[in-house]
């Protein structure tokens, strides 16, 4: 696909998303809202997995904690303020990411995967086994937060069309923010860390600090997604923090093609549509999801983006992201050829 066609495709997609609520009915508008929320969630994880090379299997911790914060912050009888609850949720997720990041970033590779999963499960048990927030049943948000700008209410969060546009705006803003981050010197450093952390350290970068900042940004953005999701459903439960949530979002990133800004968008949309299809077919729909995941891992290691013919360098809407991703994909396979390099000195 040439550069021009990609731009046209992007514009068509944006136009479709903008006019969609005018055509679709309530169910479909809410379904696309859910997919857009997952786009935000998957994009935040992509910053870690796709760009920094940190495979986190506990990303749902930040998604879920933000949901719990808004649910606990909302008074029972009346609505919470939108801005204050949003700031608290995202800030809380960022703070948690900082705490967990300080611990898990001391490990790397396979330890990192296990430690992130274990800490997310710790939160799961905290909310599941204790009565702080309704235990395994979770808690309800009786009144959705009210968005006011100086007394004026421009958006009614209970209106599904209004909410759709709010989520769409947030999703677009997150993708633009990530684009800015990745094109900044900071973005170049984190991509450098993924390709060769050792070399980045010897050049003089404090890689731990860079990774921690990345982890916190990703946690805060996952918190944003969790906040939106909690507000949409009006209920939070421990499943939000569970590892199926973490696994599912990781799957979205990889299915779409990690290390590209478009990847999580494609991944979130295709996985959720696929799951919706499976759910309509059988009670045991997770069996089909599992088979798809196995097949993707075996045959589509670069995701759906890998199906497209390789783009010539300097082409595409995201030059830095796209080309460095494919470069690192090949360098990854080279370095892990044979017995994984890390294993040899480990064993």
């Amino acid at each position: 696909m040439s550069h021009r066609y990609q731009q046209i495709a992007l514009l068509v997609a944006i136009a479709l998303l903008l006019v969609f609520p005018l055509l679709g009915d309530r169910f479909y508008v809410q379904f696309v809202t859910r997919m857009l929320i997952m786009v935000v969630f998957a994009s935040s994880l992509n910053l870690l997995v796709g760009y920094t090379g940190l495979v986190s299997l506990g990303h749902a911790a930040f998604f879920g904690i933000a949901g719990y914060i808004v649910a606990l912050y909302s008074p029972e009888a009346h609505a919470a303020g939108f801005w204050s609850s949003l700031a608290l949720s995202v800030g809380g997720a960022a703070l948690l990411a900082c705490l967990i990041g300080l611990l898990v970033l001391r490990t790397s590779g396979i330890f990192f995967i296990m430690a992130t999963l274990a800490f997310a499960e710790m939160l799961f048990y905290l909310f599941h086994d204790t009565s702080i927030a309704g235990g395994s049943d979770g808690i309800y948000i009786n009144e959705r937060p009210i968005l006011t700008i100086g007394g004026w209410v421009p958006i009614d969060l209970s209106n599904f069309v209004h909410f759709y546009y709010l989520v769409l705006a947030f999703a677009a803003a997150v993708i633009l923010l990530l684009r800015v981050i990745l094109q900044s010197p900071f973005g170049k450093v984190i991509v450098g860390i993924r390709v060769n952390e050792h070399r980045m350290r010897s050049i003089g970068f404090d890689t731990f600090r860079y990774k921690l900042v990345c982890f916190v940004i990703a946690g805060a953005l996952a918190g944003l997604a969790g906040y939106l999701s909690a507000v949409q459903f009006g209920v939070v439960n421990p499943e939000m923090l569970g590892w199926h949530q973490s696994g599912s979002v990781l799957m979205m990133v990889i299915l779409g093609g990690m290390g590209t800004l478009a990847g999580p968008v494609i991944g979130a949309f295709s996985l959720m549509m696929l799951e919706e299809l499976f759910q309509s077919m059988t009670k045991h729909w997770q069996l089909l999801t599992g088979v798809v995941i196995v097949l993707v891992a075996l045959y589509l290691p670069r995701g759906l983006a890998g199906l497209l013919p390789a783009r010539p360098a300097g082409n595409g809407e995201l030059p830095s992201a796209g080309s460095s991703a494919s470069r690192s994909a090949s360098s990854n396979t080279a370095s892990t050829g044979g017995a994984p390099a890390g294993v040899q000195d480990r064993v």
């Binding site: 069996l287 599992g290 995941i293 290691p301």
Partner: protein, 299 residues
């Protein structure tokens, strides 16, 4: 705390720790030797427990079920290695995580289709159903002693197999340098298939012998997997010795955490929070020795 209750909890903790060790050592062996992170490892524990339940009913004897279950789990392990895992040796961890995560979903749904979602119990075999009197008033089930003894025996056998047999030598060589071992004429593919099947059988066997003391329920695999991860992070990956020490530690912390209520800085610490204690332990180890308590050595 009452000394007899303390003794009972101590025995329970050690027994739980030894069981965790069986599962975690399979995980750590598969990673240490083959370089594969296997998220589906907990599923094998769950499959083992369900096998013990259904085979005991079908064959009428726990012992026959155990024997048949071991054979089945080895076959399952070989099949999975041949179908999926062997494609992962040259891939990075991300694809290993993804594929084995997919397998968890598949196993969990297959279990639901084959055996349903109910909680089951397996009777303790008649031979081991008695109790041993510890004090005048207190007795401890023979089955739990037997379970601990089997775990210790298996740990010893594993050590002997890896350290003192020709097969163990080949496994260690394969872990150190795959290409070199292969060029010496050792069929590394077959060796890895054996190691993977052995790991699967260990986890399934742990599930089978755990079935009579815990109930057989759908979420048991994931629960044990998370604890195994904690064990491996604390003990150091690829270290069987570390896995043993960490598993005992986690077994004891988890068991005592559930029975001890204490006050901390004026707050009554809820017994429900006991589930968190093992993770706090992990956080401490990560702060103190991020590479794990034991060096990452297999020997």
């Amino acid at each position: 705390m009452d000394p007899t209750i303390f003794l009972i909890q101590l025995l329970n903790g050690v027994q739980y720790g030894l069981l965790l060790f069986l599962v975690a050592s399979g995980l750590t062996l598969i990673f240490g030797i083959m370089g594969v992170i296997n998220l589906a490892h907990g599923s094998f524990y769950m499959v083992g427990a369900y096998l013990a339940w259904s085979l005991t009913q079908a064959l009428g004897s726990f012992w026959l079920a155990l024997a048949a279950g071991i054979v089945l789990s080895v076959v399952l392990g070989m099949l999975l290695e041949w179908l999926f895992i062997r494609h992962l040796y040259r891939r990075d961890h991300l694809q290993q995580v993804l594929l084995t995560y997919g397998l968890i979903l598949v196993f969990s749904e297959l279990r639901s289709i084959l055996w349903g979602d109910d909680v089951h119990g397996v009777a303790v075999p008649a031979m081991l159903s008695g109790s041993i009197a510890l004090t005048e008033t207190l007795a401890y089930p023979v089955y739990r002693f037997w379970l601990s003894a089997i775990c210790v025996l298996l740990a010893g056998l594993m050590y002997y197999l890896i350290q003192h047999t020709r097969l163990g030598m080949m496994i260690r060589a394969g872990a150190t340098n795959r290409e070199m071992t292969q060029s010496l004429g050792i069929d590394i593919g077959l060796l890895y298939r054996f190691v993977f099947a052995f790991g699967v059988a260990l986890a399934a066997f742990a599930g089978m012998i755990a079935a009579p003391v815990s109930s057989v329920f759908p979420g048991m695999g994931n629960q044990v997997l998370i604890l195994c991860f904690v064990v491996v992070v604390i003990g150091g990956l690829g270290s069987v010795k570390g896995a043993l020490a960490a598993a005992l530690l986690i077994g004891l912390i988890d068991t005592f955490g559930k029975v001890v209520e204490f006050e901390l800085a004026g707050f009554q610490v809820l017994p429900e929070l006991a589930g968190m204690s093992v993770f706090v332990m992990m956080a401490i180890v990560l702060l103190w020795r991020p590479e794990g308590l034991f060096s990452r050595r297999l020997r």
